[in-house]
């Protein structure tokens, strides 16, 4: 059994560990061996952390031997996006400016993962400061899609998604500001959840756009994603935007099905210009499948969502330009050498430390917030944000959930969109409305397109609808089944 432990989903592994059929140490070793075998092809990690994982695993084994009852994921390996601080472990945010940064404290999510006993096998690759849709903006080079290593895994949390898809860990943590969990989940054929804004603490998360950033789970099954979200969710007094209410039970109703559930197909986010035919076909089939399972499925038009992308690419850069002002070469990170005065030091540090996409967004945000343009750009974008929220509210008078594609296309070739920022931004057209509304959404695999690559089905819900979203996604998964394993898995079913 031990040799193929890496093939198993998280809940199964945790059960075997709790029953002492296998040790957490054995589970971790199986995944570390798996990482050694496939990481050279996938490049999911910036910093592998095998010693941290081994120490956490032996702690889990010791506590189980002592008769302690641990959480439902104890001993299950996890890939952590390298934008969450881990005390004493290099945390880069995919940037040269934090290339040698070693945080002196744990993010709250990391503290919760330590309590849950999920050994962290590595800090996963990402687009620099989570700005991008492909991981090509990482200062450490792109990750590869396990389905086709000439293609991107999506982004920005592409390393975490690729690690889970390639079975280097059954669990991953990402962050989603405009789709950065859901889009890579779709492109890599795994499950990804963007929780309601404020459900998961942002303390110790390196900030990109603070009114949009949210941490969430990756897994290969809906149940595993639900268990991981339960482990990290909940109020944190260290994050003033954290929701104070207790977290709903996310697994109690997960098998309850979609009978009578009202699901609206968001017409503009399923097909049309820019949508790959195979994506539209799989998503339409998924809607039919949910209807066959007893959901009341109908079409809904959401024209305002067409403006969400434009609003997002003003709001997110504006917040980014403000948040990233802290990288001044004084308190942490890189400092350019030999500057005559402090302004020259600041300006050269930032020019040498940031990559192109980060510089573009800082410039865009600085411009949108500058005197004379604030009302025309940032002010209007915030008004559009209100209109997007109203459009959701109108739709939720008729429906419990909305359904769409997660990404308009399957995974694209590395380099294909690198020189055209606007084309890259269009990758996020289906995911951005949820971030603007602070709401919740999930991406679940719904088949392969005509090119043999995974397609993600997106289900969107109002704030704090996670239990309903997970229930609908699980109903779909239970009936549809799972994708075939990507070629990297070799022989044998997942």
């Amino acid at each position: 059994m031990t040799a193929d432990l890496w093939r198993l989903p998280a809940a199964e592994l945790a059960g075997a560990i709790a029953r002492r059929e296998v040790s957490a140490a054995e589970v971790v070793e199986s995944h570390l061996a798996r990482i050694e075998a496939v990481e050279p092809e996938v490049r999911a990690f910036i910093t592998p952390t095998p010693e941290l994982a081994r120490a956490q695993a032996s702690d889990v084994d010791r506590r189980i031997a002592a008769g302690e009852r641990l959480g439902p994921l104890a001993g299950v390996p996890l890939a952590l996006k390298d934008i969450l601080c881990v005390d004493g472990v290099r945390t880069t945010a995919g940037s040269r400016i934090l290339g040698e940064f070693v945080p002196p404290y744990d993010a709250t999510v990391v503290s919760r993962l330590r309590e849950a006993g999920t050994p962290i096998v590595g800090k996963a690759n990402l687009d620099e400061f989570a700005m991008g849709s492909s991981t090509e903006n990482s200062a450490f080079g792109p990750s590869r899609n396990p389905w086709d290593t000439t293609r991107v895994p999506g982004g920005s949390s592409g390393g975490s998604a690729a690690a889970v898809a390639a079975a280097m860990a059954p669990l991953g943590i990402g962050t989603d500001t405009g789709g950065s969990i859901r889009q890579p989940a779709a492109l890599c054929g795994v499950v990804g959840v963007k929780p309601t804004y404020g459900l998961v603490s942002r303390y110790g998360l390196i900030a990109f756009a603070s009114s949009l950033d949210q941490v969430g789970p990756f897994a290969r099954t809906v149940r595993d994603a639900a268990l991981l979200l339960e482990a990290i969710a909940g109020h944190d007094p260290r994050d003033s935007t954290s929701i104070p209410d207790p977290v709903a039970d996310l697994t109690a109703t997960i098998e309850d099905g979609v009978s009578g559930m009202r699901i609206g197909v968001a017409r503009e986010l399923v097909g049309g210009e820019g949508f790959q035919a195979g994506v539209t076909a799989r998503v339409r089939e998924a809607a039919d499948r949910l209807a066959a399972l007893g959901a009341e499925v109908d079409e809904v038009s959401v024209p305002t969502f067409g403006y969400a992308l434009s609003a997002y690419y003003l709001i997110a850069p504006a917040e980014c330009s403000s948040n990233l002002a802290r990288y001044d070469g004084v308190r942490y990170g890189y400092r350019a050498a030999g500057a005559a005065d402090v302004v020259e030091m600041n300006s050269r540090t930032r020019a040498e430390g940031f990559g192109d996409e980060v510089k573009r967004r800082i410039m865009l945000g600085t411009y949108a917030l500058s005197a004379g343009y604030y009302d025309a750009y940032y002010g209007k974008a915030q008004q559009v944000r209100t209109l997007v929220i109203r459009e959701f509210e109108r739709a939720y008078e008729r429906f419990d959930l909305l359904l769409s594609a997660t990404s308009p296309t399957t995974a694209f070739k590395i380099g294909e969109r690198a020189d055209d920022p606007l084309a890259m931004y269009l990758s996020d057209v289906c995911t951005i409305p949820t971030n603007l509304a602070g709401a919740a959404a999930i991406s679940v695999p719904c088949g392969l397109a005509e090119d043999g690559l995974p397609v993600g089905l997106q289900l969107m819900g109002p704030p704090l609808s996670e239990a309903t979203l997970l229930r609908a996604a699980r109903a779909f998964e239970r009936d549809f089944g799972f994708l075939p394993a990507p070629p990297l898995w070799g022989e044998g079913a997942p």
């Binding site: 935007t241 942490y332 005559a340 411009y367």
Partner: protein, 98 residues
């Protein structure tokens, strides 16, 4: 809308980015394209619509004013590129006196 070179230089200075000539030209061109797309937001009639800065509003997040655990000074500044006597060290800010 196309940004002028002067505007790009001005924004780079505000953002404290020492950009090369090549970057000024390239970013200027790319930002013009992105802004043209972003300007779609101005096409929606939004005169009476209140702006949203935060989708999940919480007001008056308070806590008791009790000191808690915090990082020790040496640990807190351990990440700084240059430090001296328990403080961050920066290059000269003021001119030398004449």
């Amino acid at each position: 809308m196309a940004l002028t070179r002067e505007q790009v230089v001005h924004v780079a200075r505000l953002a404290r980015l020492a950009l090369s000539e090549e970057e000024l030209e390239r970013f200027g061109r790319q930002l013009s394209g992105i802004l043209e797309h972003a300007a779609q937001v101005t096409r929606l009639a939004t005169e009476d619509v209140a702006p949203t800065s935060h989708a999940i509003p919480l007001v008056n997040v308070l806590r008791p004013d009790v000191p808690g655990e915090c990082l020790a000074r040496e640990k807190a500044i351990s990440t700084a590129p240059e430090r001296e006597q328990g403080r961050f060290k920066v290059p000269r800010i003021m001119e030398e006196p004449q």
